[in-house]
């Protein structure tokens, strides 16, 4: 769910349900790394409710696209982590044989 303004789509707040710090902090990190982003942050309105608000302000690009790119980057990072870890475990198992 995106809360933004119709005229200016470079700044918006995205409200995600059923999420918590796990994904919000990771997405906030990748958002910060993107040079198009001027401001990003997340907040949890109430701890009993599983909802996260992610605020993105960019230098002109639509906030939705920038958030999507950040999530894509996070997915690619995870994939790389997985491949590297699997290879390291394989190498160790081979060495132990």
């Amino acid at each position: 769910m995106e809360h933004g303004s119709f005229t200016d789509n470079s700044a918006a707040t995205f409200s995600l349900t059923d999420e918590d710090h796990t994904i919000a902090n990771a997405v906030r990190f990748t958002l910060n790394q993107d040079p198009r982003v001027t401001f990003c942050g997340y907040s949890i309105p109430h701890p009993s409710e599983a909802r996260v608000n992610i605020r993105v302000q960019t230098t002109g690009d639509p906030a939705r696209e920038v958030l999507k790119d950040a999530c894509q980057n996070l997915m690619l990072m995870c994939r790389h982590v997985r491949c590297t870890f699997d290879k390291a475990v394989e190498d160790l198992k081979q060495a132990m044989l």
Binding site: H21, T22, M77, H80, V81
Partner: protein, 380 residues
């Protein structure tokens, strides 16, 4: 220096001066960016400088492009056993490492006993306490072979595991301890029958049962090789005196740690940053002996310089537990600097037995990828 040279009409940039390293941060800023300094009273520079434009005025691009991450990221496995793993992740940020830790503890599914149907319990352990203890027993089965059981589903062989426990302590025999190996797996489903309240039901009506197994779980090849049993056979569940009996059936379903901690697949999972111990000045002779004896985990070593002089060196910085004994006392803070490397994490994962720890970590990364994908599809 710039003002003096300004008298000449030549313009030159301050960046041309040889002192300023080109394309790199000056050493004190690099220290702030990449190390947490653990001082006597509190650590400083603990936040990670994530903003892409943080060092823009120095001409440094702080944004981590994916290719730079892929080149610098390394994993080194230090120890791998059947139950636990210790590995180093170098080049990753605390936000992502913490996400992995949170997912390992709370969002990886496992099988655990949820419903306990008690036919007879004359022991001194109350029904609910017995059911609670049974729920915490780890079961050695791969949870990826099962589906979730929701409210509307019927319990069948794809989402339930049924165990039976029937122990009796006969009169005259000594007290017995009921351990978790007394739980017998029933691959054909529940044997108990629901009580029908209808007194006029005739004997030809089929009795209602608790689970609807279409086929026996023994037909699945994984379970032929590894029958489903609790991982540890010596967990004490209850104790019986003479004449007491427990007869019950326990149904295990799939769940995640967020709902209840019994579904957490790790005993625990934690990470710490790599400690870095730096000697700011040469420490010799008596001071070196004092330093070596202060450290409870033997981080320091003495090396001989010849002619009876000795010097302290840092031999095992990884063992440092940050007890800060080496900087306690006068003047020691000037000689020893305790730091932590911000992007080097030593991860330890202890599994309870359902899945081997390296598989647990791979599944946790997959779950983070699935969450990202869910966010992307929600946005599109």
């Amino acid at each position: 220096m710039a003002e003096g040279a300004g008298e000449e009409k030549k313009k030159f940039s301050i960046w041309d001066l040889p002192d300023v390293p080109m394309g790199q941060l000056p050493p004190h800023l690099e220290l702030q960016r990449s190390r947490v300094s653990c001082n006597k009273d509190a650590p400083i520079h603990t936040e990670s400088i994530q903003y892409s434009g943080a060092y823009a005025s120095m001409g440094i691009d702080n944004s981590s492009r994916l290719d730079r991450f892929s080149n610098n990221f390394r994993v080194e496995v230090v120890r791998l056993n059947e139950d636990d793993i210790e590995f180093d992740m170098i080049g990753i940020d605390a936000a992502i490492a913490n996400s992995f830790r949170r997912i390992l503890i709370a969002e990886l599914p496992t099988m655990a006993i949820e419903k306990v149907l008690i036919a007879n319990n004359t022991s001194i352990i109350q029904d609910e306490v017995l059911a609670h203890r049974l729920g915490l027993v780890p079961i050695r089965v791969d949870p990826r072979l099962f589906d979730y059981l929701s409210e509307n589903d019927q319990p069948n062989e794809k989402n339930t595991i049924v165990f039976k426990l029937h122990v009796q302590c006969k009169r005259g025999s000594p007290r017995i301890t009921v351990k978790s190996d007394a739980l017998k797996w029933l691959p054909n489903g529940s044997e108990l029958v629901k009580e029908t309240r209808n007194a006029t039901s005739d004997s030809s009506s089929k009795p209602e049962i608790y689970t609807y197994f279409g086929c026996s779980q023994e037909t699945v090849p994984e379970f032929v090789k590894n029958p489903i049993i609790p991982k540890y056979p010596d967990i004490i569940i209850a104790k019986l005196g003479p004449g007491q009996e427990i007869e019950l059936e326990a149904h295990a379903v799939k769940g995640i740690g967020k709902t209840h901690a019994k579904w957490s697949p790790v005993a625990t999972a934690w990470y710490r940053m790599l400690p870095e111990v730096v000697l700011l000045e040469d420490i010799e002779d008596d001071l070196a002996e004092e330093l070596k004896s202060k450290c409870p985990v033997n981080v320091f070593d003495i090396e001989d310089l010849g002619k009876g002089r000795r010097r302290a060196t840092v031999a095992r910085p990884r063992a440092c537990t940050l007890c800060r004994e080496c900087i306690r006392g006068d003047d020691w803070e000037k000689r020893v600097a305790l730091r932590r490397v911000k992007d080097h994490f030593i991860f330890t994962i202890e599994s309870t037995g359902a899945l081997p720890p390296e598989v647990l970590f791979t599944e946790a990364v997959k779950i983070l990828e699935d969450k990202c994908e869910r966010v992307i599809t929600e946005l599109s």
